[in-house]
C-alpha cells in the first residue's frame, strides 16, 4: 500500500475526490485481473465472487466520479494512477488456483481493512477540512464493507484449499 508524490497537507477537495476515484478504479481493475486468472485456472466459484467485487468497486467509483463532476465539472484530473499502488486493490499474491470462495472473501476482507487503515493514516495529515471530512466518510464506508463481508463469510462454508494439492501449472511448450 503506497502513494507517490501526494502531499496530503496540501491536498484540495477536487484532487482528493480524484484520488478516491482512482483508488476504486485500481481495486476494480485488480479484481477483474484476479477473476480472469482464476477463470483460466478452473477456479470458477472464487472467480464469481471477484466478479461481484468488480461490480461493487465500479459502483463506488462511479458514485465518487459523479460527485466530483457535480462539484468541479470536467476540469482536468491532476492525480494519476501512477501515484497509488495497492491501496484498496487486493495484492497480486492473494490468489491461488483452486482457492475456495471463503478464501476469496478473506482476501477481499484484507483489502477492505487495508483501505480503512489507509484513510485512518492519512486523515491526520490532511489540512483541508473538506478533505478530512471526505476521507473520514470513506474510512467509515470501509467499515461498512467489512461488515457486509463478515455477513457473506458467515453464509459461506469456511473451507480452505490444501496448498499444493491440485497445483495447476502452466502448459508446457
Amino acid at each position: 500500500m503506497a502513494t507517490k508524490g501526494i502531499d496530503f497537507a496540501k491536498l484540495n477537495l477536487r484532487d482528493a475526490l480524484d484520488l478516491a476515484v482512482l483508488i476504486e478504479e485500481e481495486a476494480r481493475d485488480r479484481y477483474e485481473e484476479l477473476a480472469e486468472q482464476l477463470e483460466v485456472h478452473h477456479t470458477p466459484a472464487a472467480a464469481v465472487f471477484f466478479r461481484k467485487m468488480v461490480r461493487v468497486e465500479e459502483i463506488h467509483r462511479s458514485e465518487l466520479e459523479k460527485r466530483r463532476e457535480q462539484l468541479f465539472g470536467k476540469s482536468p484530473v491532476m492525480v494519476s494512477r501512477a501515484a497509488i499502488f495497492d491501496i484498496e486493490a487486493p495484492e497480486y499474491d492473494v490468489v491461488r488456483a483452486s482457492m475456495t470462495p471463503f478464501e476469496a472473501l478473506e482476501a477481499a476482507m484484507k483489502s477492505e481493512v487495508k483501505a480503512h487503515d489507509f484513510f485512518a493514516a492519512v486523515v491526520p495529515r490532511v489540512s483541508d477540512p473538506e478533505v478530512k471530512k471526505l476521507f473520514e466518510e470513506l474510512r467509515l464506508e470501509e467499515v461498512e464493507h467489512q461488515q457486509w463481508l463478515k455477513v457473506e463469510m458467515q453464509k459461506t462454508p469456511a473451507v480452505k484449499d490444501v496448498p499444493g494439492d491440485q497445483s495447476d501449472g502452466p502448459n508446457e511448450q
Binding site: A2, K4, E33, L34, E36, Q37, L38, V40, H41, T43, R81, A82, F85, D86, E91, Y92, D93, V94, V95, R96, A97, M99, S167, D168, G169, P170, N171, E172, Q173
Partner: protein, 288 residues
C-alpha cells in the same frame, strides 16, 4: 506528445500464468512504463525466448516474437538492426537468459545495441515444472536436485556488470510502481540496459522468494546512499545478490558511448557518397 493509457498496451490475450505468479505484476509495470514513454504500440517490438516469463510479448499490443529458448537476444538484435527506429524490448527467464542463452549475453552487451533486456529471475525453470535453473541457490531441492543442489548460482547482476553493461537495475513486482520507473529509465538509457526482475514462481518457488517476503526484504539502493554512477560501488552492491534484495539502479554509465545501431547508421552515412549505385552493383562481379 500524446499520452497513452497503460491499457493501450494490453492485448486481448488472457495470461495463463498460475494465479499469483510474479509475472502478472511485471506485465503491469511494463504497460505503465510504455505509457510513460509515450510511443505507440506499433513503434515497439517485444522479443522473448521460451518459458513462462517469455509469454509476456503476447500480452502486449506491441509487435511481439516469442522466439526459441535462449535466442531472444540474437533475434532482438536482428530486429533492431533491420529497423533501428523501433523501441526493442527483450524478455525471458533466468534459464532462458543465463543457461541456454547465456552465451549471447556478454556479446549482446559488448555490441551495445539500444535494447532493454528484462530477465524474470525466479530461480527455477517454471514452464517445465520446477527444475534447477542457473540462479537456483546452493542446496535448493527440486525435481532435478532431489537432495539439494551442489552448484554455485550465477549472479546475473555481476555477470552483466562485468561484461560492461551501461545500465543495470533490479526490481520486484512487490513494488510495481518502482519496477515501472526502472523499466522506463532502462528504455531511456541509450544503449544496452538490463533489469533483473525478482519475479516469484508461486508454484515451484521457495517461500522466502514470494512477494510477501519481498515486501519485507526489499531495500532500495537510494535508501542506502548508493551512487549509480559509481561502477565500483555497483560491483560491491551486486555481490550481495542472493542475500540482500536491493531494488533500483545499480549502475548507469554517466557517459554512455554511442550504441551499435547509432554507429552503424553513422558509418552508412559516411560511406554513402563512395557507395556504388545499386544499379551498378553487379558490375563488380562481371568481368568486362
Amino acid at each position: 506528445m500524446t499520452t497513452l493509457s497503460p491499457n493501450v498496451f494490453k492485448s486481448e490475450l488472457k495470461p495463463i500464468w498460475c494465479p499469483g505468479c510474479g509475472d502478472y505484476g511485471v506485465v503491469q509495470a511494463l504497460y505503465r512504463a510504455l505509457s510513460a514513454i509515450g510511443r505507440p504500440p506499433h513503434e515497439v517490438a517485444f522479443i522473448s525466448g521460451i518459458g513462462c516469463s517469455s509469454r509476456i510479448p503476447g500480452y502486449s499490443t506491441a509487435y511481439g516474437f516469442n522466439t526459441v529458448h535462449g535466442r531472444a537476444l540474437p533475434v532482438a538484435q536482428g530486429v533492431k538492426m533491420a529497423n533501428p527506429d523501433l523501441l526493442v524490448l527483450v524478455a525471458g527467464g533466468d534459464g532462458d537468459g543465463f543457461s541456454i542463452g547465456g552465451g549471447h549475453v556478454p556479446h549482446a552487451i559488448r555490441r551495445n545495441m539500444d535494447l532493454t533486456y528484462l530477465v524474470m529471475d525466479n530461480q527455477v525453470y517454471g514452464l517445465t515444472k520446477g527444475q534447477l535453473s542457473p540462479t537456483s541457490p546452493r542446496g535448493l531441492e527440486t525435481v532435478t536436485s532431489v537432495y539439494g543442489s551442489f552448484e554455485q548460482p550465477i549472479n546475473p547482476l555481476l555477470t552483466v556488470l562485468s561484461a560492461g553493461a551501461g545500465f543495470v537495475a533490479q526490481g520486484t513486482p512487490a513494488d510495481m510502481p518502482g519496477l515501472a520507473t526502472l523499466v522506463e529509465e532502462a528504455i531511456r538509457y541509450p544503449g544496452f540496459a538490463f533489469i533483473n526482475v525478482q519475479s516469484p514462481c508461486v508454484t515451484y518457488g521457495e517461500d522466502d522468494q514470494q512477494l510477501r517476503a519481498h515486501k519485507t526484504r526489499m531495500k532500495s539502493l537510494d535508501s542506502v546512499g548508493h551512487d549509480p554512477s559509481n561502477f565500483m560501488q555497483a560491483l560491491e552492491k551486486s555481490t550481495q545478490y542472493g542475500t540482500e534484495l536491493y531494488t533500483g539502479v545499480f549502475y548507469r554509465n554517466p557517459n554512455p558511448p554511442k550504441s551499435y545501431d547509432v554507429l552503424v547508421r553513422e558509418r552508412q552515412e559516411t560511406l554513402k557518397p563512395a557507395a556504388v549505385p545499386r544499379e551498378r552493383m553487379l558490375d563488380m562481379f562481371l568481368q568486362k
